[in-house]
Subunit: 646 residues, 2 copies
Amino acid sequence: MGNPYYECPLPVTIPPAKPFLESIKLGIKETLFPDDPFRQFKNQPASRKFILGMQYFVPILEWAPRYTFEFFKADLIAGITIASLAVPQGISYASLASLPPIIGLYSSFVPPLVYAMLGSSKDLAVGTVAVASLLISSMLGKEVNPNENARLYVQLALTATFFAGVFQAALGLLRLGFIVDFLSHATIVGFMGGAATVVCLQQLKGILGLVRFTHGTDLVSVLRSVFSQTHQWRWESGVLGCCFLFFLVLTRYVSKRKPCFFWINAMAPMMSVIVGSVLVYLTNAEKYGVQVIGHLEKGLNPLSVSELAFGSPYMVAAIKTGIITGVIALAEGVAVGRSFAMFKNYHIDGNKEMIAFGMMNIAGSCVSCYLTTGPFSRTAVNFNAGCKTAGSNIVMAAAVMVTLLFLTPLFHYTPIVVLSSIIIAAMLGLIDYEAAIGLWKVDKCDFIVCVSAYIGVVFGSVEIGLVIAVTISLLRMLLSVARPRTFLLGNIPNSMIFRSIDQYPIANNIPGVLILQIDAPVYFANANYLRERWIYEEDEKLKSTGGSSLQYVILDLSAVGSTDTSGISMFKEVKKNIDRRGLKLVLANPRSEVIKKLVKSKFIESIGQEWIYLTVGEAVAACNFMLHASKSNNQVADEFDAHNNA
Amino acid sequence: MGNPYYECPLPVTIPPAKPFLESIKLGIKETLFPDDPFRQFKNQPASRKFILGMQYFVPILEWAPRYTFEFFKADLIAGITIASLAVPQGISYASLASLPPIIGLYSSFVPPLVYAMLGSSKDLAVGTVAVASLLISSMLGKEVNPNENARLYVQLALTATFFAGVFQAALGLLRLGFIVDFLSHATIVGFMGGAATVVCLQQLKGILGLVRFTHGTDLVSVLRSVFSQTHQWRWESGVLGCCFLFFLVLTRYVSKRKPCFFWINAMAPMMSVIVGSVLVYLTNAEKYGVQVIGHLEKGLNPLSVSELAFGSPYMVAAIKTGIITGVIALAEGVAVGRSFAMFKNYHIDGNKEMIAFGMMNIAGSCVSCYLTTGPFSRTAVNFNAGCKTAGSNIVMAAAVMVTLLFLTPLFHYTPIVVLSSIIIAAMLGLIDYEAAIGLWKVDKCDFIVCVSAYIGVVFGSVEIGLVIAVTISLLRMLLSVARPRTFLLGNIPNSMIFRSIDQYPIANNIPGVLILQIDAPVYFANANYLRERWIYEEDEKLKSTGGSSLQYVILDLSAVGSTDTSGISMFKEVKKNIDRRGLKLVLANPRSEVIKKLVKSKFIESIGQEWIYLTVGEAVAACNFMLHASKSNNQVADEFDAHNNA
């Protein structure tokens, strides 16, 4: 066997087998430490290593010594700006989570301080987020009624925050941050849009001044709840709400058009709160059905370690809530940190950020704070206000501290309806229909993922939407591995280049040779399919050429990154089948992982190393050479016969 | 922008966008009907279509008219051979499933008849299998004690069989048969080996003549159960068992060495049963602690439609058992059918086989049969005995019918210990340590999957082992997508070929140009990773060259089969980052799916179509051209400066 006539110009190299432990080590490094975070530690004395290590885990030690007055001025302005956003949003989102409003303020005090020490983003502004707040209220609200059993509910929320923090820190420490990448952009667009829709619907309670309201978050139960008690609607509340909403949306629009007016958008919620409170105070509107916040405790965060309900029968619910909200919060926080780092061209280590978020939430849960992360809106304001370092978080925390110590009584008359307007205005920005249109244009499948997430959240529940979207995303990825495409290659005229005939209609078929290419690793999940598929392609080619002229089947393995034992068995079966038909199997450009396994499984011996070529071009040249050689041999034989017969 | 000097010789073709519905249709066809099962129906008159359709769904209509006496002689011999195996194995496996022995005989009567009509394999011999039997007993045994509540237990087993059939038929009808492919070869080796070990351990009960025995299937509880009652061991039973086991293993060894003696192996179980029964009858051994089968009802399968326990509180357990055993049975049956079809060079449609298995089990569950499939051992015997069509199954069914009608009293004195020996002898063949060694040699990861499945089954339970193995297999696949490898390419001397420097150490770096290649689709799961990775590679290259000479980054997209919107965003960010460093991004050989999305997302406009090349070679040539052009411009400028200064 073999082709003794045609000399292979460039043999395919078989890389030496690596020792098992080394390849395992390399694999683990590539999976968990692809960014090689400790490369700066190499070849350093121990004392330097210690300092670098401290700076690595507590970045404030790195930037604080270089902190200048210029930086402070910038951070002061940015910090005060985000504080004016943090106070009303904190109160609003706490009520969205069915928690006492004061917990929202607490959550804007300690976590930003922790993040300022441990976080590596210069732009991220820490705070509570609407979607996680909604998730807490919908998941824990199923277990414990926040109105009837307020203390237990708060305990559970703090416990969930604690577990969210533990989970986040664990993901970061174990370098498993890439799990968050499995929430694709499309999933997040759909999920966030759905959650924002649900949150807006929930605010109908505040806007219409309703007292009783459904605990469900889906569209159907909310609308039923709203329209079943039309006689309870309060027009005073409604008018007030619509006015504030209009004001907030207008300021948002203005600052979107002119980014230099970002402060209008940033100050608008605080303005609304002040105007709303003054209005209520002057008109005694709370007696006419406009609900107000009421009494807020003065003073800083009370300790809450003893409140963490580890022994409670609702532990499982708390852990589940913690993990789900923790992942959602991480996905938002890490993505926000990364995008702003891209703007300013510095690097963020996602795993390190996760540890920072985790520590922030663990610390927070011990001092009466619920789940915080880096919300996009507040970070954008921080960025536009010109923050230079995480120092702006410290300024914000100081401002919130002053509020907690002295200003809480001023919120007594703040109407709930203003809070609802603030939430709705913030949520409208999250319904990113333009992104959804973009998905539709570029990738229909991503659009389907996005819409499923949206529908799942709006008509089912937040968890259902999330599960649906992640499942579809994963299924799509598995399907792309399970059903890789096989391409027929042809020769681009006047070149040695071979490309898919589908994509390049000018490419020519080579008579007598079938060239197949696949675009995925060959794994157990697709081995059966590929075998059937290739046999089908051979059949088609045999049929179209009348069954006589096909002699060589070339498999172009350029795009086959790796394979497993099922893949190898499949290759063996394909070889057997090709042999049985009297054809010859030729391989082109197997990559190092594949050729290693072909050697180990001894398949290479059965195929013959001289039938493995570096490029499709060379493989085709060899086949053509053989075809002509056998043809001329036949001719010689024919002529010999003719001569004898004559 | 652009390179006006260098003319691209062969532009990359952008295929026309397909209408949405057509691409959806194509995608569905490729996913569910890759083998195009209805292609023979095209361009046929309606009557012919009807006949072809009937023959498609009931293959006996196709082969029966062409049945010859030659075929019948072959099938008769093969059928009687497998019947002699079916009777003792049927009884043994039924007792393994904690079912009355007679149900094992029933299950060798009706299902083979159904399969003979609907199945498309010519070699498959239908029967019960040990692993599925064990699964039934371990899963249902947890819910209902088969000794205390025998009737309910039988009802649940029949119901589980019914649901297994429904699930199997549904998978086939919905063309979702590829789900079975997700059980990789490595998973099955480990799982089967583990299950065989567990089954052997369970047989210690029969061999040692124990009366009480644990319901657990794991190694620890079985060994504890065996050694906690050493005083109950029956030496008579043990000696008998060891003798028969030795005989069976010996015959197995002989027929493995000389395939023409296959009938020795096939007849050995029946011989053991006869010898054992005669021995017990003559010596009255049942009075000395050797347990016997006892009374077996004469007569054919009773109807059992009314026994299907649809309203039972244990429905969920029955459905779960049905689905798991159904999938396991399918995996074995379809794989066995396929491999023997490969031998004889005919084709089997996996989805059609699933419908046949499903109908066989649905029908079986209505006439007192439990789960059947195509076991490997029995099919191998059928194949070696020279079967020609599924007719051998009909012969076997007829032989079993005769047994049921007239011969059941003969089994009264058959000792249980013989059945245990038969099971152990069959199971030893399933512990395929040679395959495991092969996995270790070729692919360590597959070996880990295999061993995990084995350990999971032996130390946990059958379900745990299965879940562990499938999870590891899927995780590995997801990881290979989440962590694709990036290769640095270099030029193979004296050619226009570019290959990975890792694999081909002779490949040369091109000064001023960084060439990166990836080997997987770019999806949301790896987009973040790839961005970080590429920036890291750029940094390394910049560092190694002193930061001055790098000017071009070429991405070789040959192996990127497709991408999604997250991938596109990643490309945009990489482009931004490259621009910011004053470098130029060049793409080589984007495939049709990728270039379509690059066009739709307008990314191609920002990169410039003139920077996209058909091959890496051309991209490098263009870059070199530009490098020299700019260098000579600089030289001109330098000379000009020098001139002026002089």
